[in-house]
Symmetry: C2
Subunit: 426 residues, 2 copies
């Protein structure tokens, strides 16, 4: 997948946005040449989150975007959550994918048309050409993306507040595919690789499940039940894309390493069927921008070949940073998703609420006719149990998965007590 | 026009959004019946701005909206600035048209399906049926509409901050057409009446000029020049819709009465040709929401039959309430307008910059090859001159129009000095 700049995947899977998957890699034979070229260009040092976006763009998750947004794309994203393409139709694009520079860097770039993106050690990562520099109105960007400007939004604090006052857009070409060398690169399948995998498995439906939390048996029930429903609808071989988000997450989320270990246990323990499940990492950073961001999560999965998207309560939501309430209405995510321009081809599958059924000693879909039989185990409750090394009710989560969580919180406590944190179990 | 609820205007003018102009009046023969019905329903007392929106909705400016927005329309407006209609296409809708109620009123309404909207004296104005009540998240509404939550936004202070925590949507039927009895109702032509007028004049192009300020000769030059360009393009009879906004405006804008008097003088003095100009009042309240609001201003004029829309620098903009800068980028309005979903059929005509040309003693399009010959007369400069009863350079504004402005600021000064303000000159 990394050998050419553009590839058309024309299997029976859902077509990528804009009709073809746009990859932004420089051909292997050209890389040295381009590296030398990059060394002569003005250089923009990019940070960890910028590199995650370079990764996202280069593999075509944001197809048909060809690089960091120019102003026309940025304004359409902010105002319409979608971008008009050449044939007059819309593709969804709800989250700005932009690169900020400061005044000094803008002056340094001056009138040149291409720049190099370099890492911490000044190694060239990519070339941005036919550039356009425009104002970075942070307040407006934040307000229109998050629907609030309250201080304390994690992505804003991490990536916007201290960023430069200018944005630079242009056509991106990546010299070497982005790798993290963290033992998890093998899980980072690109949209093209996922499409190949779904094709290899003869999938006639792909249903994506975005997550950034440990999988419990309620999730598993939902995924298993979705497959059952798709079979009932006449599909012969629906494949689940279990797709944890791998980019930036806030400090109190369970880190990717631990989540991946937990997900592996869930598959090992047979809670999900490996034959019909592809576990992969979605490289995007997390905005926590609720109904705006869930569109991005869904749109990117179209490009990876998914034609069904499972959406839960309050997707990409969090607590309001200042007020004692959720930042977003829990139902807005699925409502906005079902109405979003550019997502017409995607089948939205709203989450059914699962809870612990005391009569079955396991997770089951909530039955409103006998509420007294159910216990809702919140994320907070789950964390408290794991931190205290207590067990949840039998059947809440597979024992292997639960053990990983307990280990994670134990490692946190050790670190807090001044002991060296245990290494991530491999 | 007020006799039926829906009328189709199928002349050669641009079609209204959704294909037909939707008026929301109760037929004259049914009014007494409906008034009696309204008297038995739960009552919502509406304020001045609410009534302006009832006016806007009832005449079809927001067609195909059939009443105050339900949540699905509200969410599409906030997130996409457009609404999907039954045939799958989009109509533009950038500003929420919503009615707020408080907790007490929500409880009082309970489970009924229709409510009456009543004025200050409890006279029924309209019936809202098949109602839906949903949360009014003010912070999110403000952030997504204005791109800021800074305190001091005029419409927010006036109409949102102290409004209730719930929104009520539904199908609106207006019992009596909204009238203001202020001597200006004759200028308040509905979209249907404007369409009839354009048809009567055999217009083959209608170009709309939205304004909320006095007309100076730079505006006049622009409008005259636009007509010239349209004739060059092959149109035989382009008609100008000079369309001052008549609803709520902020305290330091020139009030509607004075503006209308000034506009009349401009026509009397022959600056604009009455044969090819229709002066009418656009009943909408003003949001000052820049690129978001300019879409509403343009969309509403499609419904009134305009197929060309003149857009200036920083439309619907204002200074940032807290920072020393404009709230919006001056170019974003025209950029957003030219890309907005649902406005594809409207021809956007960007403003050419006019300034006072010292070599011609009059307003002319700015010529960048001889900048020294031009003076820019800002709104602030104009106000200062008028307040001091000084004259602007000859040719800046017709003398009759200028005299109206001087009278207005004189009346303000008198009021400030404790004298009774002069009545509005009729």
């Amino acid at each position: 997948m990394n050998s050419g700049s553009t590839r058309i995947h024309s299997v029976s899977l859902i077509q990528p946005d804009g009709g073809k998957l746009i990859e932004l890699f420089i051909e292997e034979s050209q890389r040295e040449l381009k590296r030398e070229e990059a060394n002569k260009l003005p250089q923009i040092k990019v940070n960890k989150i910028d590199i995650e976006w370079v990764h996202v763009l280069s593999e075509g998750w944001a197809s048909p975007l060809k690089g960091f947004m120019r102003e026309n794309e940025y304004l359409q994203t902010l105002h319409f959550n979608c971008i008009r393409i050449d044939d007059g139709s819309f593709v969804n694009m709800s989250v700005p994918i932009v690169l900020a520079i400061d005044d000094l860097k803008k002056d340094e770039i001056g009138g040149v048309t291409s720049v190099a993106l370099v890492d911490d050690e000044n190694n060239p990562i990519a070339i941005l050409s036919d550039i356009e520099i425009y104002k970075h109105n942070k307040e407006e960007r934040i307000a229109r993306t998050w629907g609030t400007t309250a201080p304390g939004l994690p992505y804003v604090d991490e990536a916007i507040t201290h960023a430069g006052n200018w944005l630079i857009g242009g056509d991106l070409k990546v010299i070497d595919p982005v790798k993290y060398h963290d033992g998890l690169d093998r899980f980072r399948l690109s949209p093209a690789e996922l499409r190949d995998e779904f094709t290899r498995r003869n999938a006639d439906a792909v249903f994506a499940f975005q997550l950034r939390n440990p999988v419990h048996n309620g999730h598993a029930l939902l995924m298993t039940d979705t497959r059952r429903r798709l079979l009932e609808m006449g599909y012969k071989n629906p494949i689940l894309l279990l797709h944890p988000l791998g980019g930036y997450t806030k400090a109190d989320d369970v880190p990717l390493h631990w989540r991946m270990k937990q997900h592996e246990k869930v598959l090992e323990d047979g809670v999900l069927d490996p034959e019909t499940t592809v576990v992969s990492i979605f490289p995007s950073p997390m905005h926590y921008a609720g109904p705006t961001e869930v569109q991005w999560h869904a749109k990117a999965r179209i490009n990876a070949g998914a034609n069904f998207y499972i959406v839960g309560r309050d997707p990409a939501g969090m607590g309001h940073p200042l007020e004692k309430r959720d930042l977003y209405d829990a139902d807005h995510g699925k409502k906005v998703l079902s109405m979003a321009p550019g997502l017409e081809r995607l089948n939205i599958l709203p989450f059914r609420v699962a809870a612990y059924d005391k009569t079955k000693n396991g997770m089951a879909f909530f039955d409103p006719s006998r509420p007294q039989d159910f216990i809702f185990i919140s994320g907070t409750k789950m964390r408290t149990l794991a931190k205290n090394k207590e067990n949840p009710p039998d059947g809440f989560m597979c024992p292997g998965g639960w053990k990983v969580l307990v280990e994670y919180y134990d490692s946190l406590a050790s670190a807090e007590n001044g002991r060296v944190a245990e290494p991530v179990p491999s």
